[in-house]
Every structure is written in structure tokens, then in C-alpha cells.
Subunit: 357 residues, 2 copies
């Protein structure tokens, strides 16, 4: 098993990762402290945390906290990117949080063989896709590094950079001397993104992330304690798997469903998907399917369903009373409806409403 910002592979053992990273499980006791439990915590997609209990105590006193949820822009957003922002939106609705969404086109440029202007354009397009999910413009701020850079943020990166030695970032990220100095500096800008609401608005921060991004949280927490501000908390998720059965949906031709995909392409991709079903309908009816390894199941569960709905569907599958075909037909319909609605909302997004001076 490998889980780090640059690689997720192998058969994932989330419990081991929690232990290795020093995280806490989101347990019933913690859930009881929330005035409403977000759907993606109820169904265990977000399953681990650091210090979220402290954030809830702070919030109980009537104080505001904020969420930082950044994105390394890419040419096309796929469904694997969406649950995070569905979750952030629900947190904003439940807790009235301020949400800060930084776009690290600088990092993408440092890490990939790509033109800087091109990554800048991706940032704008990705921002539209995310904001189309319906964030409150009064409480949501986006920041594209290549467009909105200002002293407020740069200075936090400078303060953070002074607290991170080259040895430290090499140890955390495994950078090599043959790589460019931008990549080596980026952890400071990343920390600045995470610490921005705390430094600028004096609000504690929660960062919802895929568990593979945890090293960034550790680095930012280390910096926070050195510059004597509140350490950021985190809420950490599993992954939306690839349609091919890989642990994490990444950019790929057949494994990922892109927001731009036509209904026909969605249909084709899902019909070709790996599932937890048996080879024949007869066998499925006799022995039942294995929803725990089925990406189709995960899509229903993570993108659309309540806990109850998931439980019922899984039960029918295990009992052999539901075929993969039926699941696929339903999922195609649900995803195509989601994409159609999303496109409409996206066309109405004015990203300037989400930019602060």
C-alpha cells in the first residue's frame, strides 16, 4: 500500500493509514457533537480527522471557523474531484463556515511539463466547476495563485518558508536536486493557503482532504506551531475508486467520468465498468454480488445516496436480487442528470463574486 500526495496504489488499508499518520477515527462520540452530521461523514467517506473535536468545541461557543479546500487545477474535472466539494458545501450549510478555495496553478506548473498560461486557464475553468455546486458568495473566497497573488498571502508563504528547512521538505516530499526550486518552495505556499484564514481573519481552519494529502497537513501544522498560530484541523476521506477498479479515480480515458462527458460517453464508460458482480446473471442470482469491491456501488454511495438507501441497495446485491445491469442503468441516469444540472449552474457562475481584494 502506498498513500502519499504523489502516489496511491495497492490494496488500501485505511485503518493502517490512520494509525501510521497519527489520525483519529470520526467516531459516534464525535458525530454526536455535530448539530447535523454531513451525509459524507454518515456514510463513512470522510472517516478520520485531526483536531476536529477542538473545532466543534470552538464552534459551540458561537465562534466562526473556516474551511480551506484547495485544488491543483487540471484540464478537466472528473467525478472523483466532486465529493470533496459537495462535502465542503454541506459543512458551509451546517456550520455557516467561511470557505477559502485556493488554486495552485504554480505547483502544477512546477511539477508538470505544461505551459503556465495554460494551467492558469484550467484554474478558471475548474473554479467555475466547483462554484457551480452552490457556495455562498458572501462566505466563499477563491484565490488563483497566478491571478490573485498579493502580499497578504505571499507574506504567509514567506513566514512559512523560513520555518521549513530544505531537509524537511526533502524528507516529506522526496524532492531531488535535479528538480526546480519552485517545487521545493511550494510547500510554503501550500502552508500559506491553509493558514490564510487564521492569519487574516483569526479563524481556526479545517482542511477536508483525501487521506493521501495528509503530509501537507502535517507540514502546515508544523509551521503553524512555529509561527504560534492555531494548528489547522483536518477531515480526511477515502477515495472515489476508478471505474477500472483502481483505488483512486485519476485522470484516465476509461477510468474517470469527466464533467464534460456527453450522456453517450457516460453510458459507455459505466457499461464498461468493473463491478462487484458475478460473471453471469444466473451466478449473481445464486451467489449475490460483492458491493464492497464495486466502484458502481461507491458512486451511488458517495455521490448520491443517504446511508439508508445505500444499505438497502447493498443488501439486494448481496442477496442476488439486484443485477449489475440494473445498477448501471440507474447510475447512468443519475450521473447524466447531475451533469446536465451542473452544466446549467456552471454557465451562471460569476467567479468575480468570489474574489476578494
Amino acid at each position: 500500500m502506498k498513500i502519499n500526495p504523489y502516489e496511491v496504489s495497492g490494496r488500501l488499508d485505511y485503518e493502517k493509514a490512520v494509525k501510521d499518520f497519527g489520525l483519529s477515527i470520526i467516531d459516534e462520540k464525535l458525530k454526536k457533537k455535530m448539530k447535523k452530521v454531513p451525509r459524507l461523514i454518515k456514510n463513512n467517506y470522510f472517516f478520520a480527522h485531526r483536531d476536529f473535536d477542538k473545532i466543534l468545541e470552538y464552534h459551540k461557543k458561537g465562534k466562526k471557523f473556516s474551511i480551506v479546500s484547495g485544488r491543483g487545477p487540471s484540464e478537466n474535472i472528473h467525478l472523483g474531484h466532486i465529493p470533496l466539494y459537495i462535502f465542503v458545501k454541506e459543512l458551509q450549510e451546517i456550520f455557516g463556515c467561511y470557505v477559502f478555495i485556493p488554486f495552485s496553478d504554480d505547483e502544477k506548473f512546477f511539477a508538470k511539463d505544461i505551459d503556465y498560461k495554460t494551467v492558469g486557464k484550467y484554474s478558471i475553468e475548474n473554479a467555475k466547476d466547483i462554484l457551480a455546486l452552490g457556495f455562498d458568495p458572501k462566505k466563499t473566497e477563491i484565490f488563483i495563485d497566478s491571478i490573485h497573488m498579493k502580499s497578504d498571502l505571499y507574506n504567509i508563504a514567506v513566514e512559512s518558508a523560513k520555518k521549513l528547512t530544505m531537509s524537511t521538505v526533502k524528507a516529506i516530499y522526496g524532492f531531488k536536486n535535479e528538480q526546480n526550486i519552485g517545487l521545493h518552495f511550494y510547500p510554503a505556499m501550500q502552508a500559506a493557503h491553509i493558514l490564510y484564514p487564521t492569519v487574516k481573519y483569526n479563524m481556526p481552519v479545517v482542511v477536508p482532504i483525501g487521506i493521501d494529502q495528509d503530509p501537507h497537513i502535517r507540514a502546515a501544522r508544523d509551521v503553524a506551531s512555529k509561527i504560534k498560530i492555531k494548528k489547522p484541523a483536518s477531515l480526511e476521506s477515502r477515495f472515489l475508486p476508478s471505474l477500472t477498479g483502481d483505488a483512486k479515480m485519476g485522470a484516465s480515458e476509461m477510468g474517470a467520468i469527466y464533467l464534460k462527458d456527453s450522456p453517450e460517453i457516460v453510458k459507455k464508460k459505466i457499461n464498461n465498468s468493473f463491478t462487484g458482480g458475478k460473471d453471469t446473471l444466473k451466478e449473481q442470482e445464486e451467489k449475490g454480488g460483492s458491493p464492497e469491491i464495486c466502484p458502481i456501488n461507491d458512486y451511488f454511495q458517495i455521490l448520491f445516496e443517504t446511508e439508508e438507501e445505500t444499505k438497502n441497495r447493498k443488501k439486494l446485491c448481496i442477496l442476488g436480487k439486484r443485477s449489475c445491469g440494473a445498477c448501471k442503468v440507474e447510475l447512468i441516469e443519475k450521473i447524466n442528470k447531475f451533469l446536465k444540472d451542473h452544466k446549467k449552474k456552471r454557465d451562471k457562475v460569476n467567479i468575480q463574486k468570489f474574489v476578494r481584494d
Copy 2:
């Protein structure tokens, strides 16, 4: 002999440095191409260059060039910092250049055990000291990294960073892994300062610098050719020596005259200065002095005199017809007048006039 951005020591052999660094001497042929030769080139203080001949050819066609002359801010500006800006001002007058003055408080913070806010304040105070020399507000822009950071500049640093590997900056600057990542990234921001007028206004750049700063020029030229813009030219100077006889005036109690020094302190420091004179007045009259090793001579020459005036004073010294005492009395008067006038001008500086959006 050691000449690099972090150390200047030993008996300086400027000719060897020119050869080692691959510079060209500012010769009579080049001087003839200037519509007026600046005082500090006439008296050989600025004595070497890279590509300044190309800049003059460009200017001859009626096109504008620009000067970048940055400063790593310090608590107090001393006289050793002034000749550079006297020179820049004269270049602006002769050639009508646009002048860009960046203040790298970020680098100072990375390199020293100092508070970031404090270095920011130094930047503002240093800017006033420099602008008091009388730059044209329409053609001069200051940029304090901690106050004025914006995408325009940050993005050039990002493009530069991508072209500089960690191996390269380690080789040029000798940074160690125990040092912070800010310091390792700074060469990219430095390159951005130098390349800013070329990227933003499409104007070729000349950087007037002390010869110890030449590695920065080499790095910026390397970046410029990689991002396919005009390589910056340079004009390189000797040093204003310390009053104690050291090769370069650095921050020190008795070796440097600060702009804030009172007339009494200036008098005391100069009276205590090392000179090229003999031990006794009698011996001086018999054998004559050695102006070539005398910091008092250099102060007259670099700060105040025309070539002719220097020649006359040196001649009298060598012939034993002028005592160190007489030189000191005159220099004290000249420096105190300069400082008094400078203070008046400084009080009237409005740095906002020099800041662009």
C-alpha cells in the same frame, strides 16, 4: 581574494575578477558611444559591464531601456550604499531611463535572524533614503516585496523558478539543506526583479551593481535566455572602502558613516579613519602620501569630485603638499553638508508617488 554576494575580502584584484566572471572593461570606445559619460564611469568607479554596448546601440535607435537597482533593506543606510543610486540617477538624467527599485525584505528575512515586520519597516525607510536623491516619479517605480507583491511579479518568479534547478542554485550560492526553503527560492524572485521591466514593459534592462553581486546577474541571464526574453545587461562597480581600510564598507561601528550620523559622529569617525598618509606631518611632506590605498581619497572621488578635481588632490598628496588633516577637515565638511541636505530632501519624499498598481 573573495568576491561573491556573501563575502568580499582579501586584496582585491579587479582585473582578475573581470576575467574570472567573463565581464568586459568599460573602455574608451564604449565611453564614446555614450551621449554623456556619467561621472562614476569617468572616474572608473563603474569599470566593467556585460552587454552595455548592446543597450547603447538599442538606445541610439530612439528606444527606451530601463534600469533595475534593488536593495536588500537594512536598519540604516550608510554612505557605501549611496554611490550606486547617485549613478542610477545620473543614468536616468542622461538616458531618460525608466528605473525600477525592488526591495528584497523577503531575502533579508530568509537570510538573517530578524523579524519580518521589522525588515518591512527598513524597506520603507531605505526607500525614502534612496528616493531623496531625486528620481523622476514619472519614470521610477519602487516595489517592496512584503508590501507590493502582485501576480505581475510573482508570475515572473514562478517562470524563473521552473528554469532553476536546486543543483544550480546550490552551485551558485552554496546553500545548504539545513537552511530554509525561502532562501533557496529567492534566486527566482531576484531574477523576477531583474526581468520585470523586460517582461512587463518589453524594455531591455541594465543592472548597475557592485561586482560582488555578479552571480545574480549570471543567474538572471541564464533564466532570460531560457524563457526567451532579452538578457539583462550590467554595469559593475568597485567598492567604497571602509574607513578602517577594509575593501568594502559594510555595516560596522567605526568603519561606516550612516546617513543618520550626527555632524559630531561624522567628524569623529573621519578623524579616526585609516588613510594613505605617513605617520608624521614631516614624513608626509618629505615622502608624500599614498592615495591609492586611502579611503578618504575614495570618498572624495566616489561621492563628490569630478575626475579633474580628484587628479589634482591626488597629485598634491603624492607630492607631500597636502596633509591628511586638511583632507579630513574638507571631507567632514562635504559629508556633513551632504547629510544635512539629504535629510531635508528625505523629509519631503512621498513614496506612494513611486508605487504602481
